[in-house]
Symmetry: D2
């Protein structure tokens, strides 16, 4: 999302109509009229009821207006695609999913999918890219391209609800913020010694189907065997395949006879994220000769 | 090793001296005289005592003769190195360690290490390549290059004992064969259902420090949750870093609601082998949400 | 069962009819005529086909004869019950299930259940006691007392099939012996050190609903972390609740700093057996601070 | 400890000397003079510095006074022992350790140990009973009876420091309260389903060497797989052997095919507590066929 100051919900409730539109006019892509019409329904007790009201304003419009709104969205585009007018939010969102690092082949593939999708459904492919990795965007694109017009229309609106919930949650302070963020955390225990494992380096990588891996976080465990902050927090966890890598060999070398035979060095834990808003807590319990991992809570 | 028929120890004990030399003259590199002098000590009760006798024949020689024998060994060489007279055994052994797949940079690096080693110690770098991966050959080479002449002389003879034990074990049938082979096996259990996991695909890869991975075995579990044969058996397990990859996602899909969220798909188990002649038994106990692995027995 | 010599199936096939009846006349309780009629169907290729033939001889009889045969079975009886004519097999079987150790209250309870059962179904309660513990006999008795006459008649014949299969398996040597025995085994691994745990004492107890525990086996692990023989083998595992107790504290004391804090001492693993003919393999993987157990294979 | 209101440290700092003695005169057994002399050292920044000051007042006294103070302590006594003047605190403490439930044999044994101890050392056996179970009191008694006078004198003062720290922590509110309490907690996860196990009944028992078990807590897991409050908190965990029992069978029956074979029913986890002030967090991860437990954090 774009870097903007947050506004308190109570402030929004008390603002002039034009101030309200200044503040929230860009939540719905190129459609400040959504904020304008929503202003009349103030005050809102929670950010979620504000969001619901904006969605209802959109739903109350004529099919032609909704279609025009959908058509106001940009295509997903690689770095070598022709320039298109992107809002600040859209630009930040697409970059975050790694679309700005697509190869020219991938950019071309994306352009072709865009063209096929528009030809079939009459509006651009809309997806909440902050919930996705490059791989899952392509697989969702292929899957939805085979959908029926009615279900695709519904899918586009569902994605818009997700996109706008994320934008609102970042822009408005107040009670009842929609649940838009997930969390990925770990806990590392040395069960041979019965203590939390301190000083274990942990890397988090996103794995692609093409075999490549991109590091998205790196940390080390502190006194309680936990990283100082979760590996991912304050944002959705993009749908995809991940690998945490725990540097146990380096940890053992701190305390162990260097002549002892090594068995475990870097321990990879690979898992699939399908629920971007969930808490994935994945501990590692280990000895020099064994380990155990699980989805915890 | 070269593909040759095996001979029974009892047959070797009863042969003419020249027949014995025909059979075992190439166990010690370019040194049929070792077999010739050993023939006089027959009969041998076990293959190990035969091997010990050959080593003692070598040890009884003058320093000059031993030095000449060491100098009869070929350099480790990449595919673009100048041709050298390799025995059939040496050629097979070097290929098995992946030296025939070295890049030209690596070949040049190897040639440079060879030159430094010969300059420092007066004989070629000798190592039992069947106990090593490409990575461990380079790291052993770097380590031994820093050794003292006395200890390196001893190291070279220790490697010759390993090389010739492997050749003898492959060539002679009989009691008391030296322990030259390791074993790598697994056992896969579905602890959510309390049964062996049948039909789980397992791949074994060797990982290199440069990030590349080479598949060295692939199998699938049978009715008892074990692969029909061990992933590695009947040979030393080359020193190095390995990864077994268990295709749990495909296994789950056989029996599970396809709409259920996925958490584990391919599970990698990464470990280090430091003892090529040992049995590494590494089970995997899993549920859709957890797993456990350990060095078993 | 009574201690008698086994006879080879081929010998039984070649015997005189009266010799055959001498050998197998007591397999069916007080009914040597079953063996006598079965003799005419010889030869038998397997012990299982011999057993099936005996069951078919019984099934071919008139309802009155079958009813008389059922009535030839003794009551289950505690030690203070009035004497009844027990065959050697019946006496041994009832003692094995611990019926000879019933209190006088339990004996009275059993006598009452016997009376109710006979009054309701017209024949004694028949159960293959070697597949049961005292607890499961009482719970089966209570459950079956509520059954319908038709299903109870079938249940009695099914139990007779189990009783006679066990007697035959103990008495006849040959191919195709019916599967009548279970096995209970363990494997103990020290995952802090990556080795089998040697010298760990293991006790096996049967637990009763009244809170009492009876030791049925005791052993210690050998070099491979396994007991020299399974804790139970060569017989059915009586249905019931069991506890294995592993003396880890004593094991640790062999090798550990005595001042180190203790966390695990005796580790109990409690489980329920519902399939007397199955293999229950229950390993224990432990460190001084953790353990893991599972039904393996 | 006796049920009394707590006083704020700041209040104690500002009180009259006689009010201070009224408030804390019974912290040291029958020795209000300790509080009286400590009053002069006010104010205290933390409860720990107040406690330290009281201990220093005692330590500064003559050997005869300290000996008289030790002799002011009651004997540990069973219910059938002759009455002795117990302070409210002592009475509550001894009852908590189960001394009021001793058999007459145990009471006699305790009286004999008391007599031997007094004869050997000249003062009664002093121990912080709130840190002990009946078993550990007897084993400490036997161990300390073999000690040397100098070390026993030191041991008695160390126990007094523990007793008085507990009394102060219960009586005074303020910063820097001495660490006198431990905690025993669990976390129960259903790893077959990847969720916290909700509604699992958990019992905590203290086991005695004589084979008896006494239930000291019972609870059930809530939505996060944790009990609403720790099984033990706000007090030391008495040194001894414990068993948590998890009613998995009842949990499975909520959601499982009743015809499915049972393997795990009640799962006992037995462990030894040696550090009464520590946090023992002992999770259970289970499936219907396996479980894993460890000392966590």
């Amino acid at each position: 999302m774009a870097d903007r100051l947050t506004t308190a919900l109570t402030t929004l409730n008390g603002m002039s109509r034009s101030g309200f539109v200044d503040a929230l006019g860009d939540i719905f892509e190129h459609a400040p009229w959504v904020a304008d019409k929503t202003a009349a329904h103030r005050p809102f007790a929670t950010v979620t009821t504000l969001h619901d009201a904006m969605l209802m304003v959109l739903a109350a419009e004529s099919p032609e207006t909704v279609r025009a709104f959908l058509n106001g969205h940009p295509d997903l585009a690689g770095p070598t695609a022709p320039a298109q007018p992107l809002t600040a939010d859209s630009k930040a969102e697409q970059g975050g999913a790694g679309l700005d690092a697509l190869t020219s082949d991938e950019t071309a593939r994306l352009a072709q999918l865009n063209a096929e999708y528009r030809a079939r459904f009459g509006f651009p492919f809309i997806i909440c890219v902050r919930r996705h990795t490059r791989d899952s965007i392509f697989s969702e694109f292929a899957r939805r391209l085979k959908g029926e017009p009615v279900s695709e229309h519904r899918a586009a609106l569902a994605e818009i609800a997700r996109i706008t919930a994320l934008r609102l949650a970042a822009r408005v302070d107040g009670d009842g913020v929609p649940k838009v963020n997930g969390e990925l955390s770990t806990h590392v225990l040395d069960t041979a010694r019965g203590v939390p494992a301190v000083g274990v380096s942990v890397e988090l990588l996103v794995l692609s189907r093409d075999g490549s891996a991109r590091r998205v976080a790196a940390s080390a465990t502190g006194a309680a065997g936990r990283t100082p902050v979760p590996l991912i927090a304050g944002r959705p966890i993009p749908i995809g395949t991940y690998e945490m890598r725990f540097a146990l060999g380096a940890y053992f070398n701190e305390s162990r006879d260097p002549a002892a035979p090594t068995f475990l060095d870097v321990v990879p834990v690979r898992f699939v994220v399908t629920e971007p808003e969930a808490h994935y807590h994945i501990p590692l319990l280990f000895t020099p000769w064994s380990y155990n991992t699980y989805r915890g809570s």
